[in-house]
């Protein structure tokens, strides 16, 4: 995923330097406040470790080997901010000394592999490893899955950076067609190509190495895991039982964000497969000669809905109707979900009360 110089336009490179810079500065400040004068040796050795992890060949079943990146591994071991610095320094040595990854695109490479990958991967890991003991198997697996998600997020970022190039930077040939100046693949081609390779091979390699290293440290050297997990109990027996509390706040925030995005639906035109008006079905596209009888019959079979076609009446106030439909739908789903949740909770409560009564 090390992008060489020449694939991205200088304008993109400048933007990516700008995107990575605040992370570098925050990372340097945060790491320094925690480790103080240990800053230089800790990060120096961390970066050297990071570099060497990228060199390890991990065997894959086809008889060949592949490399891991180790960004999420370092984030789990030293914390995501230290990982930002360590991976950046490792990438700098690779770019300057070994010519692996470009110099102008260094900002983009760092944004993908030193910012997106550790943070997305570490976030996933934290989410999956919550309320788990330090030596639990689930924690090692969570680190692996975090690495898998992290490297794919980084690959997606790289694919988007590639895919934007032919849309934005081209010159016009004598025939009037566009000649891409940098990476020639469009988003529809670059995203499947990058994600395909990373979902199938590189992500699995990353998962295997990260989970393997954490599992090894759980067996052989737990104090090293303590560096970034000072307060996590070591064995399952020491865990304090936690009542699962629904994170209502986060849930509502997410819902609000999705509600704010509702107008996106208004931009889309037409219907999928002629769902509302069979007459609009593009017959030739599907090799048909007439609208199928079932579709014709059942498309207006039920017309007694409250908000037909996500609107009050056909076309009276399209945007207000659309918003109202979204709101009503959300509230209905919330009500059903909440009701189910309460019902299940009540049943479970009754069971736990009944068991000691039988004894």
């Amino acid at each position: 995923m090390h992008i060489p110089d020449g694939y991205l336009s200088p304008q993109t490179c400048a933007v990516m330097y700008g995107a990575a810079a605040p992370f570098w500065m925050t990372a340097a400040r945060r790491v320094r406040t925690i480790v103080k004068t240990r800053f230089v040796p800790l990060l120096g050795l961390g970066a050297a470790y990071c570099f060497l992890v990228m060199m390890f060949n991990v065997p894959i079943p086809d008889g060949t080997t592949a490399h891991a990146l180790g960004g999420v591994l370092v984030a789990v071991l030293l914390g995501p901010w230290a990982a930002v610095m360590a991976v950046t320094v490792a990438l700098a040595i690779q770019a300057l000394f070994f010519g692996d990854g470009g110099v102008l695109v260094f900002g983009a490479n760092c944004f993908n592999m030193a910012v997106v990958m550790p943070f997305v991967g570490y976030g996933t890991y934290r989410l999956l490893a919550r309320h788990q003991a330090l030596t639990s198997r689930r924690r090692a697996l969570a680190a692996g899955i975090g690495a898998y998600v992290g490297i794919n997020a980084a690959a997606l970022c790289a694919a988007i950076e590639f895919g934007l190039q032919p849309e934005l930077f081209y010159k016009t040939s004598a025939a009037g067609a566009h000649v891409p100046l940098y990476s020639p693949f469009h988003l529809s081609q670059s995203i499947p190509a990058m994600l395909g390779a990373h979902l199938l091979v590189a992500g699995v390699v990353e998962l295997a190495l990260t989970a393997g290293v954490i599992a090894y440290l759980q067996r052989a050297n737990v104090p090293l895991l303590r560096i970034n997990h000072p307060a996590v109990p070591e064995a399952d027996a020491q865990l304090t039982p936690v009542e699962p509390s629904p994170r209502v706040c986060g849930l509502l925030l997410g819902l609000a964000a999705m509600l704010a995005l509702v107008p996106l639906g208004l931009v889309a035109t037409g219907g999928a497969f002629g769902e509302n008006t069979p007459a609009q079905l593009d017959l030739r596209k599907y090799g048909l000669h007439a609208v199928p009888a079932g579709l014709e019959h059942y498309s207006d079979f039920w017309s007694h809905s409250l908000l037909p076609g996500y609107d009050f009446k056909q076309g009276s106030h399209p945007s207000i109707g659309y918003y109202t439909s979204a709101l009503v739908g959300t509230l209905l789903i919330l009500a059903v979900g909440f009701g189910t949740f309460r019902f299940v909770a009540r049943v479970r409560q009754r069971r736990t009360v009944q068991i000691p009564a039988r004894r």
Binding site: M1, H2, P4, D5, G6, P10, A28, T37, R38, F39, V40, P41, L42, L43, G44, G46, A47, A48, Y49, F51, L52, M54, M55, F56, N57, P59, P61, T65, H67, L69, L77, V89, I93, Q94, A95, L96, F97, F98, G99, D100, G102, V103, L104, S173, A175, A177, V179, P180, L181, F185, L209, A211, G212, V213, I214, Y216, L217, A220, L224, I227
Partner: protein
Amino acid sequence: MTADHVTAAAGADTAIPHLAPDWLVRTEVGLCPCGCIGRRRKGTAVAKTLQGGADLVRHAVFSDDAASRAGLLQRIDARVKVVSLLGLLVVAAFVRTLPVLAGMYVAAVLVAMASGLSVRFFLARVWLFVPVFTGIVVLPATLNLVTPGRIVVPLGTWFGGQVGLTSEGLESAGLIVMRVALSISLVVLLTATTPWSRILAALRSLFLPATVVLVLSMAYRYLFHLLTSVTDMYTARRARTVGADSEVRSSRRFVAASAGALFGKSHALSEEVYLAMVARGYRGDARLMQPARLRITDVLWCVACLAVALLVVWSDGVVG
């Protein structure tokens, strides 16, 4: 130009006596620690990691050799080199025509020859990489499926539509291959003729904070120290293995375990290094060597680079 410069330039494409032994600086190019460049060979993970480690050391020795040779670029101050080659890199990124990029590449090869770099090394470094990575990536882009335009090489029909190479696609592919080759060459020109410590000092005096430079130099220094640990672990594993070590699961376990053990070692080492630094009076502030003053050759080189940049921008406007 002094007499030894002339011999260095003249003998650039023939064998140059290396300071390092020959087996260490074989012409095979081992570039990539991440696997995206270079050839994929079958072989066990242990053998390949050992090979990778050897490549790393060879690369370091080789560039030290090249940087200590007498030549044009070796005489230029590192700060000037960093700024000028970075500037040319930016100019190269903005060029929109193929002939101008090719001209810049020829100029880069000439400068490499004048700096006593082996032409074979210089070309191999770029053109072993370009076909493997860029060539394969860019080849599909010449089809009209990716880059629509006037079809110059028809290849037949597919799903009722005509398929072929378009002139726009070919030009675009040429642009990207040439630009990648030129960019790599410019970076190689800097890194192969400048010792790592000088590059760091230059970066320090230009824009990087002193602590970051200290972290970079320490990472580079201990990289080789930790590499010895890796090589030891892998050599020991190889010595214990009878026959082909083809079991994927056990060798993957070994790779994970060795990476875990390496983390333990590197963390312990960082603690020891820190204590040693404190014992020598380290209090958290970084001090580095003061860079030397600029000389007349540096100024001349700057003027030459500026002239090339202006020429490139002008000719790009004329050709395009």
